[in-house]
Amino acid sequence: MSSVRLTVLYFASLRDAAGRAEETVQTDAPALRDLYAHLQACHGFAFPVERLRVAVDGAFASWDEAPRAGTEVAFIPPVSGG
């Protein structure tokens, strides 16, 4: 299992909970789902993974994808535009 460095973006209440809009993370999580679980524990995010979507480099992605080095990962809480 290789370790990769990537950027994580936080929006809305996740940003408030994390206290930052983004952070650089070094991770050996096998999938984005595991990356979220780790960061959820760090920052105390309230959302279970089922209520979020995940995006990589500005496009929706699957939680089963492996984190890739140099990408921008965003956890997308339920949206409320309009």
Binding site: S13, F60, A74, P77, S80, G81, G82
Partner: protein, 144 residues
């Protein structure tokens, strides 16, 4: 051509609407979402929209292209505010032109419903009592 835009300042609907009208267009349906001074009985004093611009642009364009494919319409546009929005300001606008009114209404409704459901934009309301909070609607909750 971009059909979905985020705007970080108030925008004028008139030129956007005019750009949709052409001699083939018999019907135009428009929707505007305005910032109300209340939400579920609480007085709202300020509003802020957070967005993930790269993904919002991609998802907003996808919604509009779906509408253009699903309904017999000529063109459609949507603009959504981003950042601080004052009470009484326009938060979102959708415009659709078509030969016939049924398709114009249906596409307009489709676009605003999907934008609200899918495009990564989040609303933070500040209340008169000092409280404030991000809106993260339950997936199963009725769409508003």
């Amino acid at each position: 051509m971009r059909r979905f835009d985020l705007s970080d300042r108030p925008f004028d609907v008139a030129p956007l609407r005019e750009a949709l009208l052409d001699a083939r267009a018999g019907a135009y349906a428009g929707f505007e979402g305005w910032v109300r001074d209340h939400h579920e009985g609480r007085a709202v004093v300020a509003l802020h929209y957070d967005a993930y611009p790269a993904l919002a642009a991609r998802e907003g364009e996808a919604v509009i292209h779906e509408a253009l494919a699903k309904f017999e319409v000529l063109d459609a546009r949507c603009v959504h505010r981003h950042g601080a929005v004052a009470i009484g300001e326009l938060a979102v606008w959708v415009g659709v032109s078509a030969a016939h009114r049924g398709a114009a209404f249906e596409a307009c409704r489709y676009i605003i419903d999907e934008v609200k459901a899918r495009v990564p934009i989040w609303k933070r309301e500040s209340y008169a009592d000092g409280d404030a909070g991000w809106k993260h609607p339950d997936e199963g909750a009725p769409r508003d």
